[in-house]
Subunit: 307 residues, 2 copies
């Protein structure tokens, strides 16, 4: 089945203990699309400027990603620069030039309207809600957000959360959104806001999926997937979006969304996140094979499973 | 088989968002002994004062724990007071009265010398090393330590680490001990200091065991066990010691220490830690049944295992 991602395409300048890379292709929609492309047909709605050319288009095209929904606007593409220090858990933002992204109004091509799955990457919540309403026939909608929207546009975000099936955020965001420091209690509060399931990403410790009672016709017991202990994280940028791409892409590749499929999706999310951080930007995500993905899935399984 | 724990027995005053409890039985050796008692024969070497009476003795005796090694000294038992705020991850220490524990010199009763397994709870590293040398016939030694010893007595600690098979510490301690912020790299550095295996406890995210290449005749791939998402943590005191008790107690109950046994031990560690925090002090650890432990082991398995 097909999946549509709506979000940012960007150029990043990244510095980490492993070095510095400038003008590398990034953005949530890019990481998501590449990660998901190993599982299913991916479509992208985003906006870029005149600096986005054939080289960047080819990154998507080589993975069979449909980019008819990437709008070309006058001006420059969104640019972000960040520095990761030793612990690699948080970037210091050096600059954020929104450029054409500042006035982004997602336009869904007619050809995209039959898309089965939808992922609303981290953009202004009202835009997310508009896209969700426009794509009224989708089977399942996933959503991301961030501290900025949780703090600045709580009402708009609450509206969006009523329209989505799955929310994927990190510990800090979940606690902030719920106003609650205990993680499972925070999860229940967030689920009461709308989503059927909540994926909380714990960075190097993996992720937990919490279910609303009765959602997907399954019990409410949570499930945890690990992250791989990685000795050399070169660039953590896009790890969360790659996680979301693996998670949603795998879901879209299956006929049914049940507990077992959601559990495996959580593992595939971790797998794609673990690949993303091994090289700068999207380099590793561009060069994978499905065999490598399956091999790492097995490593994740061995990391956590008793005989 | 039998296991000997050497460490503190204490009285604690604990305040958490769930309330305040005073003069409750605590100490690393107490939590460890109770947790391990569900798996194997436990012996304790510790020191207490005149305020330790029949009531406290009975807590141990009711679990078949051998306390002939608990020395009665003139004075008061070690007392600690702490307050946990909302996030429950770290206690603010209100007071530490070492009392008789200040001059603790572990004396091993003759009857204990045939003990098979040894756990050196968090005490001064030179005392740990002395006990380890005295117990020359043990099959396996586990060890704990803390930031205080890592910073103040690094040479003494290094000596101790050469004498132990397993080290159980948390993320912060592992990173501090290794002088390294990346967790798997820190683990390798710590393993190079002596232990065959290193268990790093991640609090609410579970624990990872890292192996030295070839140790226990098994590969070097790490293994991760989860922690249970708990909605009401009443008192986190002793969670790590209860984890160690479940881990080491289960090991001591098995004929052989192999990869599969170590994996299951990591799960039992998490199980006992999860029980400990549900009530104040050792209350929950006092009232368990092996059936409850097995049922929670299954919950841990379902929390992490694909079909």
């Amino acid at each position: 089945m097909s999946i549509l991602v709506v979000g940012s395409v960007a150029f990043d300048d990244v510095t980490s203990p492993s070095g510095t890379m400038k003008n590398i292709l990034g953005g949530a929609a890019t990481y998501f699309a590449l990660a998901a492309s190993y599982f299913t047909q991916v479509r992208v709605v985003a906006v870029v400027g005149g600096d986005f050319g054939a080289e960047q288009e080819n990154v998507f095209r080589q993975h069979g990603i449909d980019i008819r929904g990437i709008e070309r606007a006058k001006g420059k593409t969104f640019r972000w620069g960040g520095t990761y220090s030793d612990n690699l858990n948080e970037a210091k933002t050096n600059f954020t030039d929104l450029n054409v992204f500042e006035t982004f109004q997602p336009q869904i091509p007619k050809e995209y309207e039959d898309t089965d799955y939808l992922f609303l990457a981290n953009i202004q919540p009202t835009l997310q809600a508009d896209v969700r309403r426009h794509m009224s026939a989708v089977r399942l909608t996933g959503c991301d957000t961030m501290n900025y929207w949780i703090q600045r546009t709580p009402k708009e975000l609450a509206q969006t959360l009523r329209l989505v099936d799955l929310l994927l955020i990190n510990d800090t965001e979940a606690k902030m959104l719920a106003g609650e420091t205990n993680l499972p209690r925070a999860a229940h509060k967030v689920l009461a806001m709308g989503p059927k399931a909540l994926v909380i990403k714990h960075g190097e410790y993996g992720a937990t999926i919490f279910f609303r009672e009765g959602a997907f016709g399954i019990g409410h017991h949570p499930f945890r997937a690990p992250a791989l202990p990685i000795e050399e994280v070169k660039d953590p940028t896009g790890a969360g979006d790659s996680f979301a791409g693996g998670f949603m892409g795998y879901l879209a590749s299956e006929d049914e969304v049940n507990r077992e499929v959601l559990k495996r999706a959580l593992f595939y999310g971790g797998v794609m996140g673990s690949f993303a951080v091994e090289r700068f930007g999207t380099e590793r995500l561009q060069s994978l094979t499905r065999e490598e993905i399956e091999a790492r899935f097995q490593i994740f399984r061995e990391l956590t499973h008793l005989e």
